[in-house]
């Protein structure tokens, strides 16, 4: 047998310490809260999985979860195709390319709460460009009064804010395709659609995977923008999971249920990302089992 040298573990010790303080210990605090009823700082009662059980039965939470899933799926369904389309239509080189890149990236530089404020004003029926224009067209639009309008406005805001990220990632992916591929496609007589389907899309799979995961996680945790824009309303039409969580933890100071829910929330994101990642890894990379030509 080879002599085993365990000294290498020392090299990862600093990382372990950092991660412990930044992630593991805070997470353990949450775990700690989730199994206790904290009546006052001095009086705590161990309640086991009771909070988890009650959170799982919470009707309000269920509807927030459904809203959240719907929102995240809508975000992906709009932003990914739109981002790809945008990247395909961006000029590839020269000063135009640089100019377009800067313009496209602008919305990414704006702080979340400012984005919310921008759209709040933009959508106002009296002075906002969007709201007033829709009113003039005879559409009774109000993101504060109408649940559907509020929902669409939040979605539009997220699309406006984050599609550029998808576009930039896809643009980078497209630029990394060597010219020879396009030349070979011309020689092979491939149509524009075939070039997209068989060259551009496969070559973008890596960046698309990153884009999908980033947009999914971020939209699943969305908080600031709808908080500023609609405050979760009207009613709770735009109350997504993180806002619901904040209401519970900070608004009502129900630390136990909030902690239990945080953990569930965390696990949902982890699970969905895992599923998404694995699905995207597999799609289009496996050997076909049957048939050819």
């Amino acid at each position: 047998m080879k002599p085993v040298n365990q000294k290498a573990w020392l090299l990862i010790l600093p990382v372990l310490v950092c991660v412990a303080f930044s992630a593991i210990l805070p997470l353990m605090t949450v775990v700690n809260y989730s199994v206790q009823d904290i009546i006052s700082p001095e009086r705590r009662v161990f309640v086991g999985t009771e909070w988890f059980a009650s959170v799982m039965r919470d009707e309000e939470l269920h509807s927030a979860l459904v809203r959240q899933l719907g929102f995240s799926l809508a975000v992906l369904a709009v932003e990914i195709p739109l981002g790809i389309a945008l990247a395909l239509s961006m000029p590839a080189e020269g000063w135009k390319s640089s100019a377009v890149l800067v313009i496209v990236a602008l919305s990414l530089l704006i702080p979340w709460n400012v984005v919310g404020t921008i759209w709040q004003i933009y959508g106002r029926a009296d002075i906002g460009l969007l709201g007033a224009a829709l009113q003039r067209l005879g559409i009774d639009y109000s993101y504060t009064g109408n649940a559907r309008d509020a929902w669409l406005t939040v979605l539009a805001m997220d699309v406006w804010h984050w599609t550029p990220l998808v576009a930039l990632l896809c643009f980078a992916g497209l630029r990394s395709i060597p010219d020879a591929y396009y030349q070979a496609a011309r020689i092979d007589g491939a149509s524009r659609l075939a070039v997209f389907r068989y060259i551009q899309l496969p070559k973008m799979r890596g960046v698309l995977m990153i884009a999908v995961l980033l947009r999914f996680m971020d939209s699943f945790m969305i908080y600031t923008e709808p908080f500023v824009l609609t405050g979760g309303g009207p009613g709770n039409a735009t109350t997504f999971l993180s806002q619901y969580l904040t209401q519970k933890a900070v608004g009502q100071f129900d630390l136990g249920p909030a902690a239990a829910f945080s953990l569930i929330y965390f696990l949902i994101i982890l699970l969905l990302c895992f599923v998404l990642y694995n699905w995207m890894q597999r799609v289009g990379t496996q050997d076909k089992e049957t048939g050819h030509a």
Partner: protein, 358 residues
């Protein structure tokens, strides 16, 4: 299949003034139907530009391209029905090997059963039959390049197949195999093949006719033998052969050559006007002579290398360096000694302004 006529020039910049502004200087060339051609030259000599002009990936800035007498200057690669294989393997990642090979045929709406038959034939030829159902993306580089070659050869009715240094990424021993394969395929399919390379061995073994290019200019088109024996341009003499041709300044005066201070008789059958010329001698045709032989010149031996199949002798003749390939059994002189070399013979070439005159 088609006969291809080029009469063109190309510059990448819009207003070419000097020769150096051109990627390809004005040239005329005919590629006969069913021929195997090679474009040979160092990097940046315009060979890939020429290939892209033939395939239609690029339109010439002046002049025309004709296929069988028909002007196709503005036609797309698809209209020209050209196949081209690139330096680095291009494969469609998401497809199987079979789908990759079938792709050009499917794009041209060939019936499925014909496609299957054709793909089968080409795969057989390139020894890819066992891998038809594998994903192309997971194969090694040489198999990928074979797929690229296959996609170039799969269409039975192509005007020509163009190869742009297709074996650069292939291991040497596979290179040899693939080159033989290509030669064999050319024999079987009777396609017009044009092969771009900077490797003279590759060009000379593959092609019937080799076009040697330098700095956007075609300096000679000919068979391997012609390029070796009678280089039309000093560049060809220098570029073809290993090592390349020796060049020495000579003075012709009334049928006598003045070379390195000695007077030598003109080789039989050659006529040179009076004046200064460059004498070109292949290292293969430099012979070791006995001391004081007529026509021989004294030279100082500078270096002697044993390359296995021959001895490579480097000697100084009146300040000029001359290389000679000698038989390995030759009793070679030692470094520093004086050797007598026979330079002028019936194989000698004479150049003026870099062009062959006699």
């Amino acid at each position: 299949m088609a006969r291809i006529d080029l009469d063109l020039a190309h510059a990448y910049r819009p207003d070419p003034r000097e020769d150096s502004d051109y990627a390809l200087l004005p040239l005329q060339m005919r590629f006969e139907d069913g021929g195997a051609y090679a474009l040979l030259g160092p990097s940046g000599c315009g060979k890939t530009t020429m290939l892209n002009l033939i395939s239609g990936l690029l339109a010439p800035s002046q002049g025309s391209v004709k296929f069988d007498g028909l002007d196709v200057t503005q036609a797309s690669p698809q209209q020209r029905n050209i196949a081209q294989v690139f330096q680095f393997p291009v494969i469609y990642d998401t497809m199987t090997v079979a789908d990759n090979l079938a792709f050009p045929l499917r794009n041209r709406k060939m019936p499925a059963d014909q496609i299957r038959r054709r793909v089968g034939e080409i795969a057989e030829m390139l020894e890819l039959s066992g891998q038809l159902n594998q994903r192309a993306a997971n194969l090694p580089a040489d198999a990928k390049q074979k797929i690229s070659l296959g996609r170039g050869l799969v269409r039975p009715d192509v005007s020509a197949v163009l190869f742009d240094e297709p074996l650069t990424v292939i291991d040497p021993h596979l290179k040899w195999q693939l080159r033989r394969k290509l030669k064999q395929i050319h024999h079987e399919l009777k396609l017009t093949l044009i092969y771009v390379t900077h490797d003279q061995v590759e060009a000379l073994t593959f092609a019937d006719q080799v076009m040697v290019m330098t700095r956007g200019r075609s300096v000679q088109v000919g068979s391997a033998d012609a390029l070796f024996e009678r280089p039309q341009h000093t560049f060809v003499g220098h570029f073809i052969g290993s090592p390349g041709m020796n060049f020495l300044p000579v003075l012709s005066q009334g049928g006598v050559l003045q070379l390195a201070g000695s007077s030598l008789p003109m080789p039989a059958g050659r006529l040179l006007p009076d004046g200064e010329f460059k004498l070109g001698v292949r290292p293969e045709y430099v012979r070791l002579a006995r001391t004081g032989d007529s026509g021989a010149l004294p030279a100082t031996v500078l270096q002697l290398q044993d390359i296995g199949t021959h001895l490579l002798l480097t000697a100084g003749v009146a300040g000029q360096t001359v290389k000679a390939r000698l038989d390995p059994d030759t009793l070679a002189p030692a470094v520093g000694d004086t050797a007598w070399l026979q330079l002028v013979s019936e194989h000698s070439c004479f150049y003026r302004n870099e062009e062959l005159v006699a």
